[in-house]
Amino acid sequence: MAEPLTLRARLRPYRAVLASRARSQRAYRASFGLDLASSALVGVIELAEIWVLFHSVTELGGLDFAQILLVFGLADLCFSLADMTFGHCDNLPTYLRAGTLDVFYLRPQPLLLQLVTSDISLRRLARAGVGAVALAFGLALNDIAWSPAHVLLLAVAIVSGYVMFAGMFVWAGGAQFFLVDGAETTNAFVYGGRYAATQPASVWNRPLWAVFGFFFPMAFTGFLPALWLLGIAPPYGLPDWLGWCAPLAAAWTWLLALISWRWGVRHYQGGGG
């Protein structure tokens, strides 16, 4: 670019779109209230799915319910925030059919940034609220030997978890360019990934660890950081410090995401779309 733009000027297009999306969602108060309520209900029922198991047993995969709350809270909070800001990447097939993507090509911003900032689902804040409450209880009910390192790890885990789930949405979006009617295939890993992330991963067998432990590193969003906070050793003889590797896992997820996106766009420009 010839003229250097200030950061503020660079962000102007994205701010303008997002602010208008947010305004239009709050415009109909009654329906927005209902959306918030059902979004909160989603979070509550997802928690209930785990809670009912603890009605019958006291421990799953070496964790009791209070400890699971910590795993669930971390993973679900991060997922809900990512869903709020990146969830519409799922709509890529609709965008392709409606020609919305062609319109993005005619604007002077990067495509992926345009797609990501083209919408925001404020109603999902309610679900993030459920995750946050679960996390708060998880932190309060457990005996955590708090130190600055623990606080730092908690912050790192939340940020990395959000980034990981965001990356999963982008990965799925990129894959949609190739897969005709493929939404369910990518859902298996995005929403299946969320389901996996809220589980005590110590119950997984080795193939599940390969898929949701490392390739799509869902265990790094809640389970492994929670173990470190609780001072519990990971299963399969994995090292204790693995919980600190959440940022690496996030970087890996985005590597997958950007490769998938890049291939997807190439495929589209190559005429396969």
């Binding site: 102007r12 303008a16 779109v17 239009s24 020609g99 919305t100 319109v103 002077p108 190559g270 005429g271």
Partner: protein
């Protein structure tokens, strides 16, 4: 801007685009655009016509960087569309008759504000340009209306304004008047003529509407099966294919078929000769002369002149090439 202002605004050289398509188990290659070489200078107004599937949309997608060419070269506004897509976006405006650039649930005014932010217009530039477009396209009455509540005519005016808000040097219009009533078409055409006069904007439009071509374009490109079939002006096109106009007359009484009038060809009679259709070549005679000849034989109650249909013109070109 200095580097991109000079030279042609669109230049292609051997531009080719192939698609591999699957038909059952077999794969075959479809050539959508075939060895297209053309040059459009700044300020021209070009009609790009052809049948459905002739390669028009594919060409537009390559000019704007949405599709990568299989072979050949293309520069738009002096830029390579795919590599320089983001810089090019600041100089090109595209109106798709079929897909919207506006935000469905927002008032028109709000859509313009967002687009101004997207193109990073200054506050003054945004205000001046919006005012100009609102006035010229007569959008004042529906600026506060959400896009989804607009009539088709209003929506197309808003789409036009959205694509031109950043004052692009090149405006590409894909079927801009499709489905519009006569008055709305008229209004859009007048706007485009004025826009071109005041800002020297280059226009490239695809259309099925002969009226668009006649009133807006000074040059016509016809594409057939991906290949350039004609490049020239409208009278030249009519000369090439001998496109005829048709005079339809309603007569006071039934008469015998009106054959043998100089420069005409009798096409059909309806109602035992109460309505008759005569084809004539605009090069050799005029409607007035034909009418005078008809009046000598019967009293004319009403008449219409049918312009050559664009599909018909294209069909004739295609027929001549095969």
């Amino acid at each position: 801007m200095t580097t991109t202002d000079a030279g042609p605004i669109i230049e292609t050289n051997g531009l080719t685009r192939e698609f591999r398509i699957r038909e059952g188990a077999r794969r075959r290659t479809l050539v959508a655009v075939d060895d297209l070489t053309l040059r459009i200078e700044p300020g021209e107004a070009v009609g790009y016509i052809g049948a459905n599937g002739a390669g028009k949309s594919t060409t537009i997608k390559m000019l704007t960087g949405i599709l990568v060419p299989s072979r050949g070269e293309v520069t738009t506004c002096g830029l390579r569309p795919v590599q320089d897509r983001r810089r090019l976006a600041r100089q090109v405006g595209v109106v798709f008759g079929q897909r919207s650039q506006l935000w469905w649930d927002l008032p028109v005014r709000e859509s313009f504000r967002i687009l101004a932010a997207i193109h990073d217009l200054s506050a003054t530039a945004e205000r001046d340009r919006t005012d100009e477009l609102v006035e010229r396209l007569e959008m004042g009455e529906f600026l506060a209306t959400p896009v989804r509540q607009l009539s088709l005519g209003q929506r197309m005016r808003a789409e036009m304004a959205a694509a031109l808000l950043h004052s692009p040097r090149l405006v590409i219009l894909d079927e801009p008047t499709i489905g519009l009533d006569v008055l709305s078409k008229q209004r859009l055409r007048e706007f485009l003529v004025a826009e071109r006069r005041t800002h020297g904007t280059t226009l490239l439009l695809t259309t099925h509407d002969m009226g668009d071509v006649e009133r807006l374009c000074d040059r016509i490109l016809v594409i057939d099966r991906g290949r350039l079939a004609y490049d020239g002006d409208l009278p030249g096109l009519s000369r090439t294919v001998g496109a005829e106009r048709v005079l339809v007359v309603d007569l006071a009484e039934a008469v015998a078929d009106l054959t043998g009038i100089t420069g005409t060809r009798h096409l059909a009679s309806e109602g035992h000769g109460l309505r008759q259709r005569l084809a004539f070549d605009a090069e050799t005679t005029t409607a007035a002369r034909v009418l005078a000849a008809v009046s000598e034989r019967a009293e004319v109650l009403d008449l219409t002149v049918e312009e050559p249909d664009i599909e018909d013109v294209v069909r004739r070109i295609y027929a001549a090439r095969r």
